[in-house]
Symmetry: D2
Subunit: 261 residues, 4 copies
């Protein structure tokens, strides 16, 4: 007799989801989903403790651009000038109210590696704690947040495509520890008439745990709103958000994503 | 004035593709593609040197099953009995002609991490060198091959979905070095009548380099053939191929992939 | 003509030492040194920023005992019973006033790997901030402290042999980040009459930076005191200090150190 | 009742030493030891399987000189000119009969990190297999050898201070895999009259396993000979040996070792 054991997500290894009572009820419906933006009722994802390492400190492959190696801001700009964010100990740190910083270079489809640490000093709640973000082409945000023991709406968790898709699981490390993001971004495509021919997609591993699996973007991400796609070149920069919290980033590299023969 | 630099795959960082004259001309057309199976004319992917580490030795997340931790074959079976592959130095090694080995457990959609090394002693050519494979549900193979300075057909390279999709780039390490695979597998779905409702998909990072980006499987992978999907439960095991070469594997873990709320 | 460049510790890469005005003036002289215990005038070591990884998450070699793998306290005891420290997310955390914890096993000379994180929430000053310690045989302490931007006496820095030897450099990571210790401990030896025949020695790498290079211990470490060696078996446990701050530890393994043929 | 378990090196976790019948009987006695140089009768060290990672790919600390980052030979020279060794895939590889290569810079006491791989293709026996070496100041060699399943004399194993001290254990990886060396070198000191005032010492971790614990050097290392110390400045270069086998090296960094306050 053959005995089969089928593995499924079980209570043994994940913390069950719960409705956390944080979020909104008066926001618009997300296109194609049963939920509203930042829906108060949307269940939070289960929590997973990532392994002690994964891609932490991973050196760039030979075809990558090392956008930040801890030494200088040469690949970055802030409001047209040099970044005012702090540079110390091999990382950069958000300086509140100085604004977002962005790469000087533009790119299309890309694989991105970066590392971030939410502030050691736990301050604020929900979206006010350790908030920052990784923006592709200035429009599509993969959320950065201190989601460790921090109640907030599901589509605002670290690993979320902000306001659209919660992460599959909550794999954030505790405050102050370094997290890794390995992200594949596919830009949307538009025809000559400006009509969307292919939406944008994002795959994301947070600390080696798949939190988005080529998830389709419903349009640019936004706060309390659902924006439609607007035609553009399909090229753009990578930017990091100043949301007022001293989040840190290090070891950022990007490789343009080619196509199959 | 604002100067934009657009990054694209350039000759500076990748080795240009070439037609290698290895492969077939008498095989069937791959459904939906311009190429035949193992097409002699299909260009090989560019070569990329991966960074020195990525997920090498990565410990499993808390919701993973550690299928192989280098100590025993307790999660594995071979032909209904205990595996006859070698177990030494924290890895397992293929013993030629003993057959494939497979997990005792079955699973559906999953994220898998594993590490492999092609044989230190370079022997054979093309598909005869360092050949093995990672099979999902006994049907869908992510190719393992010593593709380092080894001419073979494009859809048989390491990182290929065998006979269907070449890897986006050739990111294999030299013989004897440990490679890492981080794979997301989505099983195909069938309706009650056995009709395919959603095909299978595979995302794969080889040594931290994206080689398949949620690529749709055209059906089960095969040699010199294109097989149609056949309805099944959507559950199955993970198996490793005995192709006669002493390939090594270590640190294999799998986490069931949940769905979005 | 041949030009030689001799590398020395220069201001370019290290922060110059300074006298920090924290410490004592009324403590006893350290045997064989020009300084008093916790000497207020002893210069602090230069600061070095460690690389992003080193032995972080390093799996144990085959001859090691994995004293703590993040899952249970099976190798540990506290006051004769089970440890009351917190166990979560793959690490243990000091519970203040519960006391030190110690291994059940005893050992002689040993190589030890462990990882620790000082509290994310920065509280207290000098020795009151992120204080803990790694004790060999209950007598010899390698200091654990949040020495990041924290003035304290030189022989009380992280990496110090407490009260005896400051670290060669200050290589601590910021609060909340994981640090690694790779330590070689040689126990003192005594003859049948209880006379010291060989002192104890400690080599320590903090985050891959050599902070103690087989440094001779002057005797058991202590606070504001210099204790003489007292004969014992040369065997003892490994213990971790409860100094009231919620320091975290993970991935602790120990391998007995053999002798040369 | 309190039960103590004392951990010692046991047959359970190490392969017992054996006399391998390879070596010499007509060589001079090593000063201060019971053995002759490359003594045929000296027992080989036990074998240990290192963990899958340790300092593999470790980025340099801020006070290190990155002597080789895989991109160029700018820090190296060979016979007064540019190195003729191969440079590819982020590593350098010995080109037989081209000679040793050495750093342009000189240094005194130092901590060195480097990675090496013995040839994938196993050729030759004993000292003829995967032989190379790391030389400090052109005089003191830490042995590089394919010691995996390769009988040779004890003081010629990978991790040996060649011709003087076998490694404490044999922790080499199989052919073709990357090994890491983390070494602390203390140069000998001489007085104005050229008399030795302090011998040289070497501490070495091979793949994270302590193989030399501040071992005193008896003088310069040599083949079948025991050389006395000869006074010199205490400064010198780091060099890598061409012993005819295509050994590979990568990621080499060095930090000058300061002294205790």
């Amino acid at each position: 007799m053959k005995t089969l054991i089928v593995l499924t997500l079980s209570a043994a290894c994940v913390v069950p989801a719960f409705s956390q009572g944080v979020g909104y009820t008066d926001t618009p419906q997300i296109r194609g989903q049963q939920w509203k933006v930042h829906d108060k009722e949307r269940p939070n994802p289960p929590t997973v403790t990532p392994g002690a390492t994964f891609s932490n400190g991973a050196p760039p492959p030979s075809d990558a651009v090392w956008l930040f190696n801890g030494k200088d801001f040469s690949h970055w700009t802030q409001g047209g000038g040099a970044p005012k964010w702090k540079l110390e100990n091999g990382y950069m740190e958000v300086v509140g109210k100085s604004g977002n910083i962005a790469t000087k270079d533009e790119f299309g489809d890309a694989q991105v590696h970066l590392e971030f640490a939410t502030p050691s000093k736990v301050e604020g709640e929900s979206q006010g704690r350790g908030n920052s973000g990784v923006f592709f082409h200035g429009q599509f945000e993969v959320q950065v947040l201190d989601s460790h023991n921090n109640k907030t709406y599901a589509d605002g968790q670290a690993g979320a495509l902000y306001g659209q898709w919660p992460p599959l699981v909550n794999a954030i490390r505790p405050p102050g520890e370094w997290n890794t993001y390995d992200i594949v971004f596919e830009a949307p495509r538009f025809d000559a008439a400006g009509k969307l021919t292919k939406p944008g997609y994002i795959t994301a591993f947070l600390n080696g745990v798949c939190v988005q699996n080529r998830q389709e973007l419903n349009g640019p991400t936004n706060h309390k709103a659902t924006d439609p796609y607007k035609a553009y070149s399909g090229k753009g920069n990578l930017s990091l958000q100043d949301h007022g919290n001293p989040t840190r980033f290090r070891n950022i590299w990007l490789r343009p994503l080619g196509e199959h023969n």
